[in-house]
């Protein structure tokens, strides 16, 4: 029987410092076979590890359409991420995955897509956004609303610029009041407020949102107010995980294991959960 806890070894190929505490790694699997055959879907996650320090959980932030590598973005907040953050190009880490379910991209075809992201919560959306942009004809209008506490907290700055320039995306970027500087050309306001200002149509639309729990909560309230149905709202949940395999019990909420039955849920599904979020 296969050891499901054995990670692949991946080498850090590129590092992008996103903010003062957030970084992105481009990773390539050392084993050529794995590198060639590794496949995943946007929304899935993995267990990343520093050998001797431990494992930590985050999504795969690159698009499955970009083969041969994966990317991850994380904030330096805990024991493992603090060590991970200080690694260099050429260092090797462990990766187990891909785990969990994914964004229902097949059901999104032919629809208007509205992405609403906050802070580092853009990471899972980014995987799906590039997946959709690489198959642009499959989708109708694409709106991206992204915000962070301040200009310094915006991640993927080069890509934000690219999205701004593209004619086939309606891209809106915002920072919380007080987070702007005098040269800031984007909006100033909390994400839910800006979402209501932009007021995308609910017709034939799917909203995919991710960010801090408090942001998601208010984004959902705004969307409901704007007439979106619970099925039209898709999000990805964060819950502390260890195994990622539906064994260790940590991410159990209600009848689901977030790592197996999620992390992607519609608001309709989330409403069935006990009120623990």
């Amino acid at each position: 029987m296969e050891n499901i806890y054995k990670p692949y070894i991946a080498e850090i190929k590129e590092i992008v410092r996103e903010t003062s505490d957030t970084t992105t790694f481009k990773l390539e699997f050392v084993d050529e076979e794995v590198k060639k055959s590794f496949d995943f879907k946007a929304g899935q996650f993995g267990e990343y590890s520093v050998f001797g320090v431990g494992e930590c959980t985050f999504c795969i932030a690159s698009s499955p359409t970009r083969k041969g590598y994966i990317e991850c973005s994380f904030k330096k907040v805990g024991k493992v991420t603090s060590v991970l953050y200080d690694l260099n190009v050429g260092d090797k880490i462990g990766f187990r995955g891909p785990y969990g379910n994914w964004f229902p991209i097949d059901d999104m075809k032919g629809k208007n897509l509205i992405f609403v992201g906050g802070g580092i919560g853009l990471a899972p959306l980014r995987s799906l956004i590039w997946n959709c942009l690489d198959n642009r004809d499959d989708f109708k209008d694409i709106t991206i609303i992204y915000g962070a506490r301040s200009i310094n907290d915006l991640v993927y700055k080069n890509e934000l610029k690219e999205w701004k320039e593209r004619k086939d995306i309606n891209f809106v970027v915002t920072v919380d009041p007080g987070g702007e500087d005098k040269d800031w050309k984007g909006k100033v306001g909390f994400v839910p407020t800006v979402l209501e200002e932009v007021s995308p149509s609910k017709k034939n639309a799917v909203v995919i949102t991710c960010g801090p729990p408090i942001m998601i909560k208010f984004v959902v309230l705004s969307l409901v107010k704007m007439g979106f149905s619970d099925e039209q709202i898709v999000t990805t949940l964060e819950m502390r995980m260890k195994c990622g395999l539906g064994k260790c019990g940590r991410c159990n909420i209600g009848n689901v294991y977030v790592c197996k039955d999620g992390p992607v849920f519609t608001y309709k599904e989330i409403k069935q959960f006990p009120a623990e979020f």
Binding site: I4, Y5, K6, F51, V53, G54, M239, K242, K247, N255
Partner: protein, 338 residues
Amino acid sequence: MADKLISKEDLNTLIDNLAKDIDVFAPVKKGDMYLYSKISSSKDISLNGKNTKKPLKEVFFGQSEELISFKTAKKEIEIIESEEDGKKRVIIGSRPCDAAALPILDEVFGWDYKDSFYLDKRERTTIISITCNEVEESCFCTSFGNISPSSKEGSDLLLTDIGESFYVEVVTDKGDAIIEGNSNLFKKAENISQKDKRQKEAVEKVKRRVELEGLKEKLDINFEDPIWKEISQKCLGCAACTYLCPTCHCFDIQDEMKKSTGKRVRNWDSCAFGHFTQMPGHQPRTEQFQRFRQRVIHKFKYYVDKFNKTACVGCGRCIENCPVNMDITKVIEKIVSS
């Protein structure tokens, strides 16, 4: 697979024979408690003692268990897979409640991704349980329809002490194989009435009972009931109940490093602890009553919904060992009557 008899002396011979070639685990008295331990001789075994302090799960799902080990040298990493020794194993003298917990654990370790560490040990282990001679005041196994001091759920053979001999009931092919391999020690079964009598007596010794009727229906709807605060008030969050529970299976994964070699281990963990769900900037269970609620609902509702099994066998360890006398049977009573 006909029933057999084995004399007490021959059982000792069987144990000694088995221990020569394979790993034999049995309850052993250590200090003032009994623990399932690996034995080398039938002299070590204690079949008439109190319930073991720790449950049988430990023999399949170690309290601390290595998942991989690794060596690091400069930028290179070598992963060394933690191999099981592959040895056949026998457990002698497990309590029927402990054995009944194994099919419950099988669900979580076997659904979807297969946990090789647990399943491999399960596969190569034969379980010989014994009808309880003594029951504890805290035992309430008979509250569950399929479990009793002489139930066969999860066992391969069931022994019942009928005086000079043990009456041997064969439950599975695995159990039969033990008899086949040592056929000279087993005799044709007789004295079935004595066996039935001893089993009936054992069942009658279990005085504690909890009514589970209506519990699941209550748990389906009472998540926000104020009763959770009330019934969990005493709980210290020490997690003794989860560590000693034969069906609790939550674990943590940690790395341990010594110079350039390390290992990744899993350790029993508990939903009773705050750090269990602590995330940076977000904690869904900030108060002890929420953790207590998670444990109870997981056992008696979530597990039932997912695997169609209740994650409790009535072994009574959580009652026996709680430092503040929390009593799961009283908790259930309060929930049902709320």
